[in-house]
């Protein structure tokens, strides 16, 4: 099992009556609510927490990308990753961002990730994401172009990293006369690619074909993930191989207390801050962003299986929207989920909502000391190596 500490870097000071006056913490949430003095402190605290994860023995840290929102204040995950290259020396740095369609030309992403890979000594995991619905409002990018822009940008970046330049790229969206990225990444043939998905088959098939890693988008009922990972494993089988555990990641909020009662007492208010104030707006779905079928599925599935529909603590427990309890309880629950899903990457959200730093750090410490070793023992790393990722399954070319 590989353990990652995932951070959202949320804004913790939305007013108590925020949800009475705002239906969304995204896109239109007035930035007058943001206090830069407080915010500066948050970046210090959050970077400290991620650096602390290395001390505690985590295998990696994860940063992510969102724009114009209070939910996650890393509009540039690459900046945070750059800071982390200097604050850490061992952990993997997974950038579960760079929403490719937002960057024109996408060679900018190829350049920055290559820089980060070099600056970190080859520790970067390169997420490549389409970007959530809200980002298409925030960037005024046509949601109808989300998928095709992603596909083209992906191809440009992978070619920029692996094929000799300069070369020309003429696509529907990007017309680049000279692609010739300097520097090139340190890892060969390129940093590992992670791709998140909400369960669409097209994404799974794409990930399976390239032997990339698939990360289920969080905050759904645990049964939703079980179905998702079954489908992903089947997609890999269709490609003629068994999904490797490290091709799959489970992301969820986790809180470890001394006892079950203390854990809930310490954690619950932060969960509700997160769920009531920060989540609304996350599912904004601009027209054309998904296929009609997916739009229907999401619209109908949200009430029953997404975190926004959760009303009581019993709902939280029943759907495993967060894993909370004593070290023993958290171990048992996570072991159950990881067995069911077959995932080999556990992405832990240890700071949630308005949880203050001392509490988040205590949570991390208890998890690392009392849960992580037991999970590591129960889920030893697979003997077989992770499948070699293939950027261009249909092509033969020399990798420099």
């Amino acid at each position: 099992m590989k353990f990652f500490m995932f951070h959202l870097m949320p804004y913790r000071d939305l007013p108590d009556d925020f949800e009475e006056h705002h239906d969304s913490a995204w896109v239109w949430v007035p930035n007058e609510l943001y206090d830069p003095e407080t915010g500066a402190g948050y970046y210090r605290e959050y970077l400290d927490q991620l650096a602390y994860a290395e001390e505690l023995g985590f295998d990696g840290v994860c940063v992510n990308e969102h724009h114009q929102n209070a939910y996650g204040l890393m509009p540039s995950p690459n900046l945070i990753a750059a800071a982390l290259t200097q604050r850490t020396s061992r952990v993997r740095i997974a950038i579960v961002g760079n929403a490719l369609p937002l960057y024109d030309p996408p060679t900018r992403v190829a350049e920055e990730i290559a820089m980060l890979d070099l600056m970190s000594g080859g520790r970067i995991i390169a997420g490549q994401v389409i970007g959530g619905g809200p980002e298409y409002y925030s960037f005024s990018i046509n949601p109808a172009e989300a998928r095709t822009r992603f596909a083209e940008a992906h191809e440009i970046i992978m070619r920029a990293w692996t094929q000799p330049g300069p070369f020309e790229f003429y696509g529907e969206h990007y017309k680049l006369r000279y692609v010739n990225t300097w520097p090139r990444p340190l890892q060969k043939p390129h940093p590992p690619i992670w791709i998140p998905g909400v369960g669409s088959l097209e994404t799974m098939e794409f990930v399976a074909r390239h032997r990339y890693a698939y990360m289920g988008i969080p905050y759904f009922h645990i049964d939703f993930f079980k179905k998702t990972y079954r489908l992903f494993k089947r997609a890999c089988e269709k490609e003629g191989y068994q999904a490797h555990p490290e091709q799959m990641g489970l992301l969820m909020p986790i809180y470890v207390g001394e006892t079950d009662e203390e854990a809930r007492r310490e954690f619950e208010e932060h969960f509700w801050y997160f769920q009531r104030k920060l989540i609304p707006g996350i599912l904004l779905s601009p027209p054309g962003y998904t296929s009609v079928q997916s739009a229907l599925r999401i619209f109908k599935g949200v009430e029953s299986s997404f975190i926004s529909g959760v009303k009581t603590w019993d709902d939280v427990e029943a759907g495993s929207f967060a894993t909370v309890g004593s070290p023993e309880t958290v171990f048992e629950k996570l072991a159950g989920h990881l067995t069911d899903l077959g995932a080999g990457n556990l992405l832990t959200l240890m700071q949630l909502g308005n949880m203050p730093s001392d509490k988040a750090r205590a949570n991390m410490t208890r998890f690392a000391e009392q849960v992580m070793p037991r999970l590591a023992e129960a889920f030893p790393d697979a003997a077989e190596p992770v499948p070699q990722q293939v950027a261009f399954p249909d092509e033969q070319f020399a990798v420099a």
Partner: protein, 267 residues
């Protein structure tokens, strides 16, 4: 009314056709009203052979993947006119359909006879913001009705914007698909084409511009401006009416349209 499948540039689209008389091309709004053949269309069909093609992406009209901006719709409809052997035809367009009609009339003025524009999109007034129709999500039907109607409790409001909770898949899919098709051309720049304003001086058609006095999506100032920019145009405001005139005040819209088109009809 009958739905006639028609080939346009290699794709099959659906065309609602009805009535007798001189031909009239009716270009529908994002609400896709041609499919349900409204009162307005019925009334027009009493005097005209009304041809109301569904835009690609609406109710079974194919080829939306080839539509990337408003200009693609201009060439789509030029091909449609050619297919009908119409060198020149009267055109009525509502909202999105009005925008398409304006683009055709400005670029190919010789193809358009008389022109009726109802609450037409197409230009932008920097000082008069339009509301964002794409901001509303499934589940916000109350807000949608308030945005589109003067009186959100108007009986048509519930028909045009049904409550989506528990609705049948087919209706929901048609709505999602129509909104996606609209966003393809209207997402950014939002509901307008920055080049159009400068081209409107080319329009030779006599134009009637009809606007709901209480249009919250595209305020009446847009109607006033269009009537200024189109060389031969007249503005008619409909009181106590929101954006969807063809749903909220169909009788007034029909009367104005027929009066305007009738003068051009051959005896």
């Amino acid at each position: 009314m009958e739905l006639q499948p028609t080939e346009v540039r290699g794709h099959t689209i659906q065309v609602a056709v009805g009535g007798d008389g001189p031909p009239l091309l009716y270009l529908h709004s994002a609400a896709g009203e041609s499919y349900v053949w409204l009162d307005v269309l019925n009334g027009l069909a009493a005097h005209h052979a009304v041809h109301a093609p569904l835009h690609p992406g609406f109710f079974g009209s194919e080829g939306v993947e080839d539509i990337h901006d408003i200009e693609d719709l201009v060439y789509h409809y030029l091909a449609f006119l050619d297919g009908r052997d119409w060198e020149r035809v009267d055109v009525m367009g509502c909202s999105l359909g009005g925008w398409i009609a304006l683009e055709i009339a400005a670029r190919y003025p010789e193809r358009v006879g008389r022109l009726v524009l109802a609450a037409s999109a197409g230009i932008r007034l920097p000082d008069v913001p339009m509301q964002d129709m794409f901001r509303l999500q499934l589940g916000q039907e109350d807000q949608a009705r308030a945005l589109l109607f003067h009186d959100p409790s108007h009986p048509m409001a519930r028909l045009v914007v049904p409550t989506f909770e528990g609705i049948d898949d087919e209706t929901l899919a048609a709505f999602v698909s129509a909104m996606a098709a609209t966003a393809r051309v209207a997402w950014n720049p939002y509901l307008h084409d920055p080049r159009l304003e400068g081209l409107l001086g080319r329009v030779t058609a006599e134009a009637l511009v009809v606007w709901g006095q209480d249009d919250r999506l595209i305020p009446p100032a847009y109607g006033e401006r269009l009537a200024e920019l189109i060389p031969n145009a007249r503005l008619e405001l409909v009181p106590e009416c929101g954006h969807l005139i063809w749903f909220e005040r169909p009788a007034q819209l029909l009367e104005a349209a027929l009066a305007h088109l009738g003068a051009a009809a051959p005896a």
